[in-house]
C-alpha cells in the first residue's frame, strides 16, 4: 500500500504532468467561476486532447478540472448570489448576505479553506476506502436510494423559512416539475404541452439560473446599488484571515460535512447537486444557535463548501472500483481511463494501484493549489462587490443567458430561464422560499425512479424492513422531530419582539410583497389543479408522483387561503390597498421594465441572432440603466462580443439559434466576411 502510494506521487512529479495539472487547475477555476459552465464541459473539451497523452498527464489534466470547479464556483455564489455550478447552490444562502455586508473576503477565506480540506479529505477517503468499500456501496440498492432521497427531502424542513406551509408547497412544486417529460415506467410524456423540449425533462441549469440568478441580478439592477451595501472596504487580507480562522474554529463541522460529501458522492445517482443542501441542512439542524442562518452565518458557507469538494473523491470510488459512474463528469473520467487503456475494476486496485494513487494525489494537490490561488486573488475578486451594480449586471447576464443556452441549445432554454426567473423573482419578493423548490426538483427524479424500481423488483413494499432502510427511516423521524422542536421554539421566541426579526431561518427572501405572494399562491394553485386534472388519464405508476406532490399541496394552499382570508378580511379593501402599493412600488415597476428588456432581446435574437441581440442588450442596459456613455460602453460591448465569439463560438462550438433574417444578413455581407462573427 505504501509503495504504490509513493509511486503515485512520483508519477505526478514530472514537469509535463505538473504542467498539465496546473493547466487543469486554471481551466477548472474558470469553468467553476462562470455560472452555467461547470466541469463536465471542461472535461469534454479536453478529452480529445488526451488521446495521445501519457496516462499521468491525461489524468492530471482531467482530474484537476474535475476537482477544482467546486472550489471556484463559490465566487459567483458569494459575490452575486448565483450558483457557479449546481453543487454550490446552498452556499448562496449565507455567502451572498456576507458579501452584501461587505464580508465577501471572509466568506472566501472560509470557503476556500474548507474546500481544500474537503477535497483532501475526499482524496484520503478515496485512497483508504478503495480496497474495502465495495460491500458498502453494494448495500445501497433502490430501496436505500429511495430512503436516502427522502432523507434529503426532509432537509426541506430546515430550508422553509418562517412559513413551513410555504416551504412544503414550494417543495411540492419542485417535486411536480421534476416529473416533466417521459415517465420511467412507460413511454408516456408528462406535462410536455406539445413541446419536444419538455420530452426528456426540465433541465436543471436554466431552472436554477432562473430561480436564483435572474432574481439576484435583477435585484442588483433594480436597486441601483453595488452588491455590498456598506462602506467600500473589502477588509483586505485581515478578513481573509478571519475567514480562515472561522474555518478552523468550525473544524468539526467541516469534518462532518466532508464525510457527508464523501458518502453522498460514492452512492451512484445522488451526486453533487444535492450534497450542498444536505450538508447545509445538517449544519442548521445540528446548531443550537441557528437564528443567523440565511443572513450571513459563516457556518452556512463552511458546510456546503466542505461537502461539495469532498463529494468528488467519493464519486470516484464507484467509478474506479466498479466502472459505475455516478454523474456525467464521472462518466467522462471513465472514458478517459479507458482511452488510456485502464480498465476500472480489480486492476485499478492491484496492478494499476500506482495510477489510482496518482489520481488521489492529483485531487489533493489540485484542491490545495486552487484554494491557495483563489485566496491570493480573493481580495481583488472581493472588490467586485463594491463597484456599481450596473457594471456587473450586463456581463453576468451574458453568462446567465449563455449558461442556460449551453444546456440544450434550444429556445426552450431561454424560455425556461425567463419563466423561472419570473417565478423566482415573485417568490423572492412575495416571501416564498426558493431552496425547497430546487432541492425537491433535484431529488424528485431519483426518489420517483428508485421507488418505482423498488416496488417492481420486490412486488410491493416488502423492502421496508431492510436494515439500512430502517436506519434511514429513523434518521428521517429524528430529523422531523428536531425540526418540529425547532419550529416550536421559534414560535415561542416570536413572542419576543427582538427575536421576531430573526425568525426567518434560511429564508433570505423576506421582502414579502403581499400581492406578489398572492400571485405565487394563484400560480401554484393553477399548476397543481392542472397537474391533477392531466394526471387522471395516466396509469397509476405514471400518475402517482404528480398526484402525491399536487394533492397535499392543494390542501396546504387551501389552509393558507383560509388563514389569509381570515387575517385580511374584509378582502376587497385589502386587495385594493396592496394592489395600489405593489403597482406603485418602483422596484416592481423597474422589474417589469427589466423583463421587457429581456423580452425585446429575445425578439431581436429571433430576428437577427443571439450574438447581435446579447451585445445590443448589454449596450442598451449600460446606456439606459447605467447612464454610461462613450468609450466605456463600446469597450464593454466589444468585450462581451469577444467572449461570445472566442469562447462560446470558437471553443465550445455552441449551436446558435438560426435567426429569421439570417439568410438576408448572409446575402448582404460580402463573401469574404466570416458570417459567424455576427450570426
Amino acid at each position: 500500500m505504501i509503495g504504490p502510494l509513493f509511486d503515485g506521487v512520483l508519477l505526478l512529479l514530472d514537469w509535463s504532468t505538473l504542467g498539465y495539472l496546473f493547466l487543469g487547475i486554471l481551466v477548472g477555476i474558470w469553468l467553476g467561476a462562470v455560472p452555467g459552465l461547470g466541469g463536465a464541459l471542461g472535461i469534454v473539451l479536453a478529452l480529445p486532447f488526451t488521446f495521445s497523452m501519457d496516462a499521468p498527464d491525461a489524468i492530471a489534466l482531467l482530474l484537476a478540472i474535475y476537482a477544482v470547479t467546486s472550489t471556484s464556483d463559490t465566487i459567483s455564489s458569494v459575490l452575486l448570489g448565483i450558483p457557479g455550478t449546481a453543487s454550490s447552490q446552498a452556499t448562496v444562502l449565507d455567502g451572498y448576505p456576507l458579501a452584501q455586508q461587505g464580508q465577501a473576503a471572509r466568506a472566501f477565506g472560509a470557503a476556500f479553506t474548507v474546500s481544500a480540506f474537503g477535497g483532501v479529505f475526499g482524496a484520503i477517503v478515496l485512497a483508504v476506502s478503495l480496497p474495502i468499500i465495495m460491500p458498502i456501496i453494494l448495500k445501497f440498492n433502490n430501496p436505500e436510494l429511495f430512503m436516502l432521497g427522502l432523507v434529503g427531502l426532509v432537509m426541506v424542513a430546515s430550508l422553509t423559512g418562517a412559513s413551513i406551509a410555504k416551504g412544503l408547497i414550494a417543495a411540492a412544486f419542485g417535486l411536480l416539475i421534476s416529473t416533466v417529460g417521459y415517465a420511467d415506467d412507460a413511454a408516456i410524456p408528462r406535462f410536455w404541452i406539445g413541446q419536444s423540449y419538455l420530452l426528456d425533462e426540465l433541465p436543471l441549469v436554466p431552472v436554477v439560473l432562473g430561480l436564483f440568478a435572474l432574481p439576484e441580478i435583477m435585484d442588483l439592477a433594480l436597486r441601483n446599488t453595488s452588491i455590498a451595501k456598506g462602506v467600500p472596504d473589502t477588509g483586505g487580507f485581515a478578513q481573509l484571515r478571519q475567514g480562515i480562522g472561522d474555518a478552523f474554529r468550525n473544524w468539526w463541522l467541516a469534518v462532518r460535512c466532508s464525510a457527508i460529501g464523501v458518502y453522498v458522492g460514492m452512492i451512484p445517482g445522488l451526486g453533487g447537486a444535492v450534497v450542498d443542501w444536505i450538508a447545509y441542512g445538517h449544519a442548521v439542524q445540528s446548531s443550537k444557535d441557528n437564528e443567523n442562518f440565511g443572513k450571513g452565518d459563516i457556518r452556512g458557507v463552511i458546510a456546503p463548501e466542505a461537502a461539495n469538494n469532498a463529494v468528488r473523491g467519493g464519486a470516484l470510488i464507484p467509478t474506479v472500483a466498479f466502472g459505475i459512474p455516478g454523474s456525467a463528469m464521472n462518466a467522462l473520467l471513465l472514458s478517459a481511463l479507458l482511452i488510456q487503456g485502464l480498465q476500472p475494476g480489480k486492476a485499478m486496485l492491484t496492478t494499476n494501484l500506482d495510477i489510482t494513487f496518482s489520481m488521489v494525489w492529483a485531487i489533493a494537490i489540485a484542491n490545495i493549489v486552487a484554494a491557495g490561488l483563489l485566496m491570493l486573488w480573493s481580495n481583488g475578486i472581493s472588490k467586485l462587490a463594491f463597484i456599481s451594480g450596473h457594471l456587473v449586471v450586463p456581463g453576468v447576464m451574458l453568462f446567465i443567458l449563455m449558461g442556460a443556452w449551453t444546456t440544450n441549445a434550444a429556445p426552450g432554454d431561454w424560455i425556461t430561464l425567463l419563466i423561472f426567473g419570473a417565478i423566482g423573482f415573485s417568490m423572492k419578493r412575495g416571501g416564498w422560499p426558493r431552496p425547497p423548490v430546487i432541492l425537491a426538483f433535484v431529488l424528485g427524479g431519483m426518489i420517483e425512479n428508485s421507488f418505482l424500481l423498488s416496488w417492481k423488483i420486490h412486488e410491493g413494499l416488502g423492502w421496508l424492513n431492510r436494515p439500512i432502510v430502517l436506519v434511514l427511516l429513523a434518521i428521517i423521524v429524528l430529523t422531523l422531530g428536531l425540526s418540529i422542536r425547532s419550529g416550536f421554539r421559534m414560535r415561542q421566541s416570536r413572542q419576543d419582539p427582538e427575536a421576531k426579526q430573526s425568525s426567518n431561518l434560511s429564508d433570505a427572501d423576506a421582502d414579502a410583497d403581499p400581492l406578489l405572494s398572492v400571485a405565487v399562491w394563484l400560480m401554484m394553485f393553477a399548476v397543481f389543479v392542472a397537474a391533477i386534472w392531466i394526471s387522471t388519464d395516466w396509469p397509476v405508476l405514471v400518475a402517482a408522483m404528480p398526484m402525491l406532490a399536487a394533492a397535499p399541496a392543494l390542501m396546504l394552499l387551501a389552509v393558507m387561503a383560509a388563514n389569509g382570508l381570515w387575517q385580511s378580511r374584509p378582502l376587497g379593501p385589502w386587495l385594493s390597498r396592496h394592489a395600489a402599493i405593489s403597482t406603485a412600488d418602483p422596484i416592481n415597476r423597474r422589474a417589469v421594465a427589466f423583463f421587457a428588456y429581456l423580452g425585446a432581446m429575445l425578439l431581436v435574437a429571433v430576428l437577427v441572432g443571439q450574438k447581435i441581440a446579447i451585445v445590443a442588450f448589454v449596450l442598451a442596459y449600460l446606456v439606459r440603466w447605467g447612464g454610461y456613455r462613450g468609450g466605456r460602453v463600446a469597450l464593454y460591448g466589444l468585450a462581451c462580443w469577444a467572449v461570445l465569439i472566442l469562447f462560446y463560438d470558437r471553443i465550445v462550438h455552441i449551436f446558435w439559434f438560426r435567426p429569421v433574417l439570417g439568410p438576408a444578413i448572409s446575402a448582404i455581407l460580402p463573401d469574404w466576411f466570416p458570417v459567424w462573427l455576427v450570426i
Binding site: A40, P268, G269, F322, G323, A331, L338, N408, A410, H653
Partner: protein
Amino acid sequence: MKLKTILTAGAAVLFSAIAAQAQDLAGKTVTIMVDVPAGSGGDLHGRIFAKNLGAHIPGNPDVIVVNKPGGGGATAMNTVFEQGAKDGTMLCYCGLDAAGVIAGAPGIRYVPEEMAHIGSAADSLAFVARTDRVGKAEDLRGDEAILIGGRGKAVSMDIFGNLGLKVLEANYRYIGGFGGFSKIAAAMLADEVHAGHAGLSGFVRFFGDNDTAKPVYYHPFFDTDGAPLPPREGIFPDGVPSIVDVYTELNGEEPSGDWWDTYVWYRSNIMSAGIAVTAPPGMEPAIVEMLQQAFQDTVNDPAYLEEYRAAIGEPPFFNSTALTEKIFTSFRNAPEAVNAKLEELLAE
C-alpha cells in the same frame, strides 16, 4: 468532327472540375450534430468520428461536434431535417429511432426516408446475466423468474432483447425504468436484478474485468436470406454462443416460428442503424455520394478504428452504403405477423 470531340471533352472536364469544386469543402466547417449530451457515451462516439472524418472529405474541412440533446433524441434529427444546410456542412450523428418513428412517438417531425443517408452502424448486442443465476442454458427456463433490468419496455434495445427471451421461452420478469446500462450493471452487481440487455461497449465497460456477470449469448446479424452471420473474431469472450446455439441446445433444432421471425426482422430492420449519420433532405446527389464515400473511408481508416478501440472498445458493425439506404427505406414494412407479435410483447 475532331473539333466537336475536343470541345465535348473540354466541356466535360470543365463541368467535372466545377462539380469537384462544389464537392470540395475546403475552408468550410462541417457541423456534426449529436443527439446526446456532452460527455455521454454516444457523444464520445460522435467526437471520435468527427475527429477522423475531416481527413476523408475533399478539401479537409474542419469538423466540429455540437450537442443537441432533447426530445428523446428527436431534437437533433428534427433540427438537421428542418434547418440543416444542404451543402454538406451539417450532419446528424444520431440513432435512428425506427420504433419511435413507426409508433408516431411525440416530438418526432423528421421523416427518415426523406433524409440523405450517409452511413450507419449496428451495435454488437448480448444478453448478460449474473453467472450465479444463469450458469448454463437450462437456467433460462428455471422455476424462478430471472429479473431483467431494462431501460423501458418500449425502448428498441429492450424490445429486441426481450424478443430473444421469448424465442428461448425463458422464464423472466422484466423491470423497466433503469436509466441506462450503467444503472443496470450496478443493480446486477448488487443482485437486485439478475440480467440485462447490453451493447458490447456497455458490457466491456462494466463487466470486462469482473466475473460477476458474463454474456449468456450474443445476438447475431443476419444476411439478406435471414441466415445468421458469425461474429467478428475477438468481439466477445471465447466460448460465448449465439442465441441460435442456445436455442438449438435447449430444443434440439434450429429456431423457427413467429417469435423467431419477429426477432430476425427486428434485428435486420430496427436494430441495424443504432448509429446513423444523416444529412438534410434535398441535397445534391454528388454531395451525398461524396459524404457517403467519406463515411466509408473513415470507418475503414485504421487510425479511426484504433482510436475507437482505445476509447470505447470494439467498433460496431458498419453497414455498406447500399444497406444503409435499404434500412432507411424499408423499416416500416413489417409483416403483419411481426406487428402482431410486437404488440403482444408490448402489451405484457
